[in-house]
Amino acid sequence: MLEFLRKYRTPLTVLGLLLTALLIYSANLREKPRTSAVERTVLTAMGPLLRGVDAVTGSIGQVWTRYFWLVETARENERLRAENRRLRAEFKTHSELRLANQRLQKLLGLRQEAGLNAVGARVIGEDASSLFRTVVIDKGRRDGLREGLPVIVAEGVVGRIIRCAEREARVLLVTDASSAMAVLVQRSRARAICRGHGNGLSMDYALLQEDIVPGDLVLTAGTGGIFPKGLPVATVLRIDESKYGLFQTIRLVPAVDFSRLEEVLVLLDPQP
């Protein structure tokens, strides 16, 4: 037996590792919506680092605008100019605060208007690869979050929580290629399925006879059990009508600018 193991050590190692990898993958496919202990541990370990970088980049930005700028102006030895610049830098900082305030007020307004039970969160990280579209937020189970909850901003739908640790959670954006949801066109009430394509969205299974034109607003249909009805998703950009098919394929422009995602709302009790 030992002789056999020694002789075929390499093929047995390869086989063993491959089987392990396949088992892990297939086991996870069956229990997809759950966050495993490994994922929770890595997310929890990564959270403080991401929060730290978030805080440090903010501080460095302030140091850059205040300190280095002042050093440069001191070299020029123009006191009034330096004063002017310092005031401008402060104004910029205040503008940034004002903009953040506006964004948060918008979110708060949305929450109050719709009577939603929601938790605000900050985006602290993004997906580790260029293929998937997920982000990390700084709220988790401790704040009442769990897998499957919808995430929105004032402009529209962002995505849903797929993994949740104690203080962090990962959100699958609607633009991810594995993301799909039921939608309807606001003007004509035509129903379809909205899918992600990495950077954009498309609307599939809209019947050829449905009345859809560029510029139409697309909303959540509220039938998937995740997103409440009536949240903005996208605007119709282009319609590709097939001569022989049953459906039209529609390209959409997402309502949310995902490259500038900073604060989001997680709906705790979505009412479909």
Partner: protein, 172 residues
């Protein structure tokens, strides 16, 4: 075991770099791929294979929604490089550049295969094919930067060993 620990720690740091706050980059360097390829050139089947599997699982914790996907892909990638490593000059910097280019393509093909045959997520293949040229270019830039860093480090060590009174003096 100790080696595995250090590789995983390095992998965690690289993963952290990959998940830094939202950037405007269309494509980001696949640093873990570079690490797996390097493992394939230098490590044994067991240590390197285990490390590649664990690095993939680590990546899955911060990427996508399927735990084990990159575990499987990185393991297959490691086996491919390891199988070829004995016939190649693993010290050549150009080899690493070539392997990163082909490794990026091989990784994309493996992902397409897995998405097509093992899961129901079928929208990724177009994205993978569209992204490949840019991803390969970005990975190439990361590899060049890595090789330059290694070059600086080696030169620094050599200079240190030539200095009179240096502890490294006389060592190969």
């Amino acid at each position: 075991m100790k080696k595995l620990f250090w590789v995983l720690l390095l992998g965690f740091l690289l993963l952290f770099l990959e998940t830094l706050p939202p950037s405007r980059l269309a494509c980001k360097p696949d640093l873990l791929l570079l690490l797996v390829i390097s493992l394939g050139l230098r490590q044994t089947w067991l240590t390197g294979g285990t490390a590649a599997l664990l690095l993939g699982i680590l990546r899955d914790c911060m990427s996508g929604s399927e735990l084990g996907l990159h575990g499987l892909v990185f393991l297959l990638l490691f086996f491919t490089v390891r199988a070829m490593a004995e016939h190649l000059n693993s010290e050549s910097p150009l080899l690493l550049v070539f392997l990163v280019l082909t490794g990026t393509l091989w990784q994309s093909l493996l992902l397409i295969f897995i998405f097509a045959f093992l899961t129901e997520a079928n929208g990724y293949w177009a994205l993978l094919l569209r992204q490949y040229p840019l991803q390969a270019l970005v990975n190439l830039a990361a590899t060049t930067a890595f090789l330059m860093l290694v070059g600086f480090w080696r030169r620094g060590r050599q200079r240190g060993s030539r200095r009179p009174g240096s502890l490294l003096r006389g060592r190969p």
